[in-house]
Amino acid sequence: MQRLNQKLGYLSALPMFAVFIIALFAPLLVVMLFSIMPPKVFSLMNMPNFKAYSVFFTQGYYKSLIWSLGMAFISTIILLVISWPLAYAMAKIFKRFTLVLTLAVVMSLFVSENIRLFGWVLTMMKGGLIEGYFRSFTGFGFDSPLYGVGVIIFGLVYVYLPFMLFPLAQGIAMVPDDARQAAADLGANRWQVFFQIDLPLAAPGIVVGCLLSFVLAAGAVAESKILGGQAVITIADDIETAFTFGQDWPVGSALSMILIVIIGALALFGISRVDLDQIMGRRR
C-alpha cells in the first residue's frame, strides 16, 4: 500500500511538473543566462560578464526597487489593518454574510485588473464620477487625487485586498474559541486576548496573507502606470521598459533576477514556515 502510494504520488505530480519545467524553470534559466550577457545583445553566444548588474547601481535602477519595496511594505501594513476586522468577522461572527462577502470578493478578482483600475481613474479624475457629481450639486470642484504616490498605494491596497483577506480569515478560523474563552475567564482583557491568543494562533494565515500581498505588490506595474501616471517608476516597470523601448535584454534580465531573488527568498522563507495541510483543512 505504502509503495503504491509512493508510485501514484510521483505519477500524478508528473503533468504539473512537466508544465513547471517547460514554462517556469527553463524560462528562469534563460533569464539567468541573459543577465550575465553583455548589455544590448539578443543572443546567448557572448562572453559572459556582470556589466548588466552594474547598471542597476550606475543608472539609478535601485531607486525604483526601493520605491517598489517601500510601497509594497506600506500597502501590506494598511491591508493587514483594514482586513483584520473583516477577516475576523468572516471567520467568527458573520454566518450567511461570510458567503456573500466571499463571493463578492472572488468575483471582483475575475475582472481584469486594468479594467478595475481604469474604473478608478474614471471615478477619481477631474470631471469623473465623484468630482463631477460633487461639482454639479455644490458648484465647487476639487483637484483630482490621481497621479501621485498616495493613489498608487491606494491602488495596491485595492487590487491585493483579496490576497490578504482570505488567508487572514482562514488563519483566524484556526483560532479555537475555547482558547479565547479560557483566556477571558482567567481574566485576560481584550488586548491580552488579541496579542497572546489571536495573533500567535492565527500566525500562519497572517504570514501567508502578508507574504502574498507584499510579493504581488512589489512586482506590480499597472497601478503606477494607470493610476499613478508614472509619478513613480516601479521596478517591474523598469524591467518592462528595458525589454520593450530599451531593447536591452541583458539589463532587463539582470533587473528581473534581482527582483526574483528578493521575492523568491521571502516566499521560500514564508512558505517553509507554514503547514499547508493544516491551513487547507486536512482531516486527521
Binding site: 533569464v31 478595475r116 457629481y133 487547507m280
Partner: protein, 270 residues
C-alpha cells in the same frame, strides 16, 4: 466572548462598504460605457447604446473576443486535467516529496506575472518559437494550473481515503478506482476549478502582454488604449468582458442549483 450587537452591526456595515468600494470603479465604467459623448465627463448628459453597436460591428472586436476565448477554453481544459492529478499528489497520496510538491505549486502564484511573461518571451525566442495566442496558453497555464490544483485539493482533502482502499480491497484496478471513485468524488472541485481557470485566463493581462505576439487578447487591447489615450470603446469593451464573465458565473450557479433539485427529486421518488 460573543460579539455585542453593536459590534456586529458595525462590522456588517464595514463589509458592505468594502463590497461597495470593490465595485465602485465598475459602476463608473458602466456609466461611461453608455455615455453618448466621445469625451467623457460626469455627470453624463445623454445616454446611448451606440458604442455597443459599434463594438458589435467591429471586426477587431470579434478577433479580440475570439482570441481571448480560445486561450481561455484551452487553458481551462488543460488546467482541469493537470489539477485533477496534481490535487491527488498534493492532498491524497502519501509520497516522499509531497510537502516539497505543495510548496513548489505556490511558486508561480508568488511570481511577478510581468516578469514571468518576459521570461517566457525570451525562452520562446531561444527555442525559435514565434509567439502567438498559442504561446499565451502556455504562459497562462503555468499560473492557472497551480491555482486550479489548490481548488481541487480542498475537495480532495475532504474525502475519505477508505473509499478508495475499500475498492482496492475488492480488486478494483488503479484506473477503475480513479474513474469510478475518485473522479466522481472530485467532480464538484473540478468544475469550480474549471470556472476559475476560465475566468482567470479571460481576465488576465500581465501574462498575455508579452506572450501573445501579434495576436491580442481583450485585456491587452484595453490596456493599450488606456495608456495611449481615451477611446469610448474602452468602457464598452470592459463592460462586455465583465458581462461575459457574469453570464458564465450565472450559468454555473443555475446549473448547480438545477442538478441539486433534480437529484433531490430522484431521491424522494425512488
Amino acid at each position: 466572548m460573543p460579539a455585542s450587537s453593536t459590534t456586529k452591526f458595525i462590522l456588517f456595515v464595514y463589509g458592505i462598504l468594502v463590497i461597495f468600494l470593490l465595485y465602485l470603479p465598475l459602476l463608473s465604467v458602466g456609466f461611461a460605457s453608455i455615455s453618448k459623448a466621445r469625451y467623457l465627463t460626469f455627470p453624463i448628459k445623454r445616454y446611448s447604446s451606440k458604442w455597443y453597436f459599434e463594438a458589435m460591428n467591429s471586426g477587431t472586436v470579434r478577433d479580440l473576443l475570439l482570441t481571448s476565448f480560445s486561450v481561455a477554453i484551452i487553458v481551462t481544459v488543460l488546467s482541469v486535467i493537470i489539477a485533477f492529478f496534481g490535487a491527488l499528489a498534493f492532498a491524497r497520496y502519501e509520497w516522499r516529496y509531497r510537502s516539497a510538491f505543495q510548496k513548489l505549486i505556490l511558486l508561480p502564484i508568488f511570481f511577478p506575472q510581468t516578469v514571468l511573461g518576459l521570461a517566457l518571451l525570451m525562452w520562446f525566442n531561444a527555442l525559435g518559437i514565434i509567439p502567438s495566442w498559442k504561446t499565451a496558453v502556455v504562459a497562462h497555464l503555468v499560473w492557472i494550473a497551480p491555482i486550479a490544483t489548490l481548488i481541487v485539493a480542498i475537495r480532495a482533502y475532504s474525502f475519505d481515503p477508505a473509499l478508495e482502499e475499500a475498492a482496492r480491497d475488492m480488486g478494483a484496478s488503479t484506473f477503475t478506482i480513479l474513474r469510478e471513485i475518485t473522479l466522481p468524488l472530485l467532480m464538484p472541485g473540478l468544475i469550480s476549478a474549471g470556472l476559475f481557470a476560465f475566468l482567470l485566463s479571460w481576465g488576465n493581462f500581465p501574462l498575455s502582454l508579452f506572450t501573445t505576439g501579434a495576436d491580442s487578447t481583450l485585456p491587452e487591447w484595453l490596456y493599450a488604449k488606456m495608456v495611449s489615450g481615451y477611446s469610448p470603446l474602452v468602457p464598452t469593451l470592459g463592460i462586455t468582458s465583465v458581462i461575459a464573465s457574469l453570464v458564465l458565473i450565472l450559468v454555473f450557479f443555475t446549473s448547480a442549483w438545477l442538478i441539486k433539485i433534480i437529484r433531490e427529486r430522484n431521491v424522494t421518488s425512488s
